[in-house]
């Protein structure tokens, strides 16, 4: 802008002209305007700040509510699918610890504890078809049949004096099927090429023969006759032994 007195070029904020010293009237007005706008601006700013401060708890609560809803949903899903998560975790774990678990499985085999062998595999969700556990491939099938058959016999014969024996029919039919299955599977595997675990398979058969002898009264000859007879005859025999009919 120009000085009204001398016409020299002066700044808008100069209070007096640096050349002639006369008062710059426009600057005073401008500064007054500036102060007014600054004041307004400060007011607006504090209003906005106040408004923000007022709404912060509201926004925080709303965001928290959304997060909590998501959290409850996720936790409920995990709770419902816990078995699945646990199953996957155990499976991954059993692959990671394959050496340790294989050693443990061999310990069970060495001790002749084939029910423990099966229970350990089941509890740790050992994936039988993975290369880490393929060495036991032939044993899984026969051992699970062995364990199931012993369970059936155990359930059928081990009861107290005052037992109501609600599941007697089930126990008898379970024994009937599982004994038949075990010897069928054993007969099939027996003819396959031998592997280093063959001795455990043979031991399982010997344990089963013994269990049938001491708990079901089937010595070698009687067992062969029993296995060669019809299902009806087998059932009649088991009823005789287990119920005394």
């Amino acid at each position: 802008m120009k000085c009204r007195n001398c016409g020299a070029e002066i700044g808008l904020l100069d209070k007096t002209c640096p050349y002639c010293g006369s008062v710059n009237v426009e600057s005073a007005g401008h500064q007054a305007e500036m102060k007014k706008y600054q004041k307004r601006s400060e007011k607006a700013k504090s209003k906005v700040k106040k408004s923000i401060n007022e709404n912060v708890p509201l926004v925080v609560s709303a965001v928290l509510l959304v997060l909590l809803i998501i959290g409850v949903g996720v936790a409920a899903y995990v709770e419902d699918e816990a078995a699945l998560f646990s199953h996957w975790a155990s499976r991954r774990d059993s692959l990671k610890k394959s050496e340790e678990y294989s050693a443990k499985l061999i310990e069970f085999l060495e001790a002749g504890d084939y029910t423990g062998f099966v229970a350990f595999k089941g509890y740790h969700v050992i994936p039988e078809y993975e290369p880490e556990y393929q060495e036991f491939e032939k044993l899984w099938n026969i051992a699970s049949n062995f364990s199931g058959t012993l369970n059936s016999i155990e359930a059928a014969v081990m009861y107290g004096e005052d037992a109501p024996r609600y599941g007697l029919d089930f126990d008898i039919s379970s024994c009937l099927r599982s004994i038949d299955n075990f010897y069928y599977v054993y007969g099939r595997l027996e003819n396959e090429p031998e592997d280093k675990y063959q001795k455990y398979m043979v031991d399982m058969k010997e344990q089963m023969d013994t269990a049938l002898r001491i708990y079901l009264g089937l010595d070698d000859q009687a067992r062969e006759e029993y296995l060669g007879s019809s299902m009806n005859k087998q059932k009649v025999y088991l009823e005789e032994v287990l119920i005394g009919e």
Binding site: E54, I69, V72, A82, T115, H124, Y159, G160, I214
Partner: protein, 139 residues
């Protein structure tokens, strides 16, 4: 509706959901930690079979406990009863088969369990009777 009322409602919902979330997290953690016990061998099932004196069922149901299953302390006795029945059953097989070492291991474990839970002597005696009765019937 004033902001204060909205804020109040939000806070109430936050608190309620907070409790629900804590409960759900606890439930999920428990489900994962005790999954086998809950899924397969719940203590109520074991108790039911003990009531029915079906000791063979108790034995096979609790078998996983001796192969690494985690069992809550409060249910430990129930699983020991199952293990006793299982060991007893197997001990007779090993003895009859002539596997003296295995039979001895089972017998020792049975003795350990008897010493650990003396309060259940009556139940353990019934289990002994059941196995002798089974062998007697088969002879």
């Amino acid at each position: 509706m004033s902001k204060k009322i909205i804020l109040g409602i939000l806070i109430v919902f936050d608190i309620i959901l907070g409790f629900v979330l804590l409960e759900k997290i606890g439930g999920a953690a428990e489900e994962i930690a005790w999954i086998y016990e809950r899924e397969s061998i719940g203590p109520s099932d074991v108790l039911k079979y003990l009531d029915w004196e079906s000791y063979g069922d108790v034995a096979s149901m609790t078998r996983a406990a001796r192969t690494g299953d985690k069992v809550k302390d409060e249910n430990r006795d129930l699983y020991l009863l199952g293990e006793y029945a299982d060991m007893l059953f197997q001990e007779k097989i090993f003895s009859a088969k002539g596997d003296a070492d295995a039979a001895k291991r089972c017998a020792e474990r049975c003795a350990d369990i008897r010493a650990t839970i003396p309060g259940y002597a009556v139940v353990l005696d019934k289990m002994d009777w059941s196995i002798e009765n089974a062998i007697y019937h088969a002879e």
